[in-house]
């Protein structure tokens, strides 16, 4: 590679020999002999560095990323395989154990109904994580589609879709969820809660996607794709959306935590998950009455919820920093 001759330099050399005195020629060193050679050296076989590749290299060096990744994996393991972590039945409650102190096999003690707190915390993870992940999925699909169409096609699409986004944005999430929750009053399921949160949670993703698409769509590579004959839809799906994905991923990670809190809030108000589903929100809500006598009944489910939410927020923070070249550590 260093042998590839720079045509510009050849010209210069030629010029130097004809118009300048020969003694001056040695002032122009061959680049392969100067320290510049190291700088100029490009490994042409290496894959070109991409935003995602750089971000991944940056993420690997961050403690925050590893801490949150381990926590998220732990929470997911607990949510999908709760029986690995406890052999106590969370629904088996004996009133004589009511508000009992921790003992062997029951490290967190018992709640007012005499149920094992540790086992309820373990089994409560599934509802929260399911609601958080499914809602985030729904919100990203709905919000990113609407935002991308509004930003890319512009014009009337944009005007109408942006106003619709405003309408949904202006109605407070919890209030809307209370009204919609009433509609689903009979036979409420986890999917109902996911649907309610999705219907009123998408505007934020839509706005961010719209902004990202607007900033991407005027780039030269989009013009190039158009010039090569790509249809509008193809340009949007293959070129615009992948390049606008970074902010969407960040907001999705952070809002996963927010949706888990929202689900707990709804369960606290008595309009979230049905009583038959074990969830941290219910347990925190019922622990309210035991706060004065045994605060640990409130503490453990709250702590579990907080750690879960925290791990997703920290992951979002780490990914945001890694994807933002300005904030990247040098």
């Amino acid at each position: 590679m260093s042998e590839s001759v720079n045509p510009v330099r050849k010209d210069l050399d030629g010029a130097a020999t004809t118009t300048q005195r020969p003694s001056q020629a040695h002032f122009v060193a061959d680049p392969s002999e100067t320290p510049l050679a190291v700088v100029d050296k490009v490994n042409e076989n290496e894959a070109p560095s991409s935003l995602w590749g750089d971000a991944w290299r940056d993420l690997r060096g961050r403690a925050l990323f590893w801490v949150s990744a381990v926590l998220i994996l732990l929470v997911l393991a607990v949510a999908f395989f709760p029986s690995l972590f406890t052999s106590v039945d969370p629904e088996f409650c004996e009133l004589r154990n009511s508000l009992g102190e921790p003992q062997a096999g029951h490290p967190f003690g018992f709640d007012r109904q005499g149920c094992d707190v540790y086992s309820r915390v373990i089994y409560g993870a599934r509802a929260s994580v399911t609601v958080g992940m499914l809602t985030t999925l729904g919100v990203v699909i709905l919000g990113a589609t609407i935002g991308a169409i509004a930003g890319f096609y512009g014009g009337w699409f944009d005007t109408i879709l942006s106003r619709v986004t405003d309408i949904f944005f202006a109605i407070p999430l919890v209030l809307a969820a209370i009204v919609l929750g009433q509609v689903f009053q009979d036979g409420k399921t986890v999917m109902n809660v996911v649907a309610v949160l999705t219907v009123f949670g998408w505007p934020q993703v839509a706005r961010i996607t719209r902004g990202a698409v607007l900033s991407v769509k005027n780039n030269d590579f989009i013009t190039a794709a158009k010039a090569l004959g790509a249809s509008k839809l193809e340009t949007l799906v293959r070129h615009v959306v992948p390049n606008a994905a970074a902010p969407i991923i960040v907001v999705a990670t952070v809002s996963l935590g927010t949706f888990i809190v929202a689900e707990a809030t709804l369960s606290f108000l008595g309009i979230g998950l049905p009583q038959s589903v074990l969830s941290w929100g219910h347990d925190i809500s019922t622990a309210q009455t035991s706060l004065r006598t045994n605060a640990s009944v409130l503490f453990y489910p709250s702590a579990a919820l907080a750690i879960t939410v925290l791990s997703f927020i920290m992951m979002g923070d780490a990914v945001r920093d890694a994807l933002d070249p300005k904030a990247r550590k040098r």
Binding site: R163, A170, L180, Q182, L305
Partner: protein
């Protein structure tokens, strides 16, 4: 400027119509018969039930009901609640309390959030910065109602510094604790926003220029760094006023505050369209006006932004 405000106010109309229609439709879709529920266990005779339905226009199809409601609003007649009270009276009782809490929460979160965020941003990477970040993350991750229980129990019951519940006494002192709990999560957001924004602006060219021309550190920070860092924070605060009033429902339930949340919750359970739609509409208007104020504040903070 006037034209800009006029255009923004015009843009409010479709949002207003859409939001009222959406809420009206959701309340319309509520299961059960709200009029029969009024009669309790004995139920109402069909004649009486029909009369009440006609009185509240509930015998009309959905769109006619909605249009009649809109017509009422345009003549400033917000209708009556099922118990016969004009909705406007219910609004006049509930909104001032919630508005007071929301404003107190807003002041609390902006003063403390910007203050602490500024100090943390100026000393990024230090001990203070790190501990503040950890605390803010915990505040965001713990649900408001848990913070509410713990604060109520610690400061209200155990230490007895503040009255644990508000009830009928809506004085400044008794609203202090609910307002702090309500603003806690937003406080953490304001803090983080300010910190990031300040630490970013510290390395900006105009800050170096200001230092180079001999301004004192205090003046550089106050006039150049802080003022430019406030734009994202102000954006957040403007949108937050509406969110605080709508989100006060949990805090109001914990501290037994006779505000918007409790009244609205009861109205939703009763399936009372007039009250629910009016309340939510006012919340939507507060949200839109808050955002408009933010956009106008931009021009004050950044003279480069002008509205024509």
């Amino acid at each position: 400027m006037v034209r800009y405000i006029g255009r923004r106010l015009l843009q409010m109309i479709p949002v207003f119509l859409g939001a009222t229609l959406l809420i009206y439709a959701m309340v319309f879709a509520l299961p059960g018969d709200p009029i029969q529920a009024l009669g309790g266990e004995r139920g109402l005779s069909p004649a009486v039930a029909d009369q009440i339905r006609a009185q509240f226009n509930l015998d009309q199809p959905f769109f006619i009901q909605y249009l009649l409601y809109l017509k009422g609003i345009l003549t400033l007649d917000f209708g009556n609640s099922f118990s016969g009270q004009p909705v406007i009276d219910v609004v006049a009782r509930a909104f001032p309390v919630t508005f007071k809490i929301a404003i107190m929460a807003l002041i609390f979160e902006s003063v403390l959030g910007i203050g602490v965020g500024l100090v943390a941003g100026l000393r990024k990477g230090g001990i203070f910065d790190a501990s503040v970040l950890v605390v803010s993350l915990i505040v965001i991750a713990v649900p408001t109602f848990v913070i509410g229980f713990v604060v109520q129990f610690t400061f209200g019951v155990k230490l007895g510094w503040f009255p644990p519940t508000v009830g009928g006494d809506t004085s400044f002192e008794s609203l202090l604790m609910p307002a702090a709990v309500l603003g806690a999560v937003s406080f953490a957001y304001v803090l983080r926003l300010t910190r990031t924004s300040v630490s970013e602006n510290l390395t900006a060219d105009y800050v170096r220029t200001a230092t180079a021309k001999g301004l004192s550190r205090g003046r550089v920070v106050q006039v150049h760094v802080l003022r430019n860092s406030l734009i994202p924070v102000v954006t957040f605060l403007g949108a937050d006023l509406g969110a605080l009033m709508g989100g006060a429902i949990v805090t109001e339930a914990i501290f037994n505050v006779p505000g918007v949340g409790g009244t609205l919750y009861q109205a939703i359970i009763r399936g009372e369209p007039t009250t629910v739609v009016t309340f939510v509409t006012i919340l939507v208007i507060v949200y839109i006006v808050g955002n408009l104020l933010v956009d106008l504040l931009y021009a004050v903070l950044d003279p480069r932004i002008r509205y024509v």
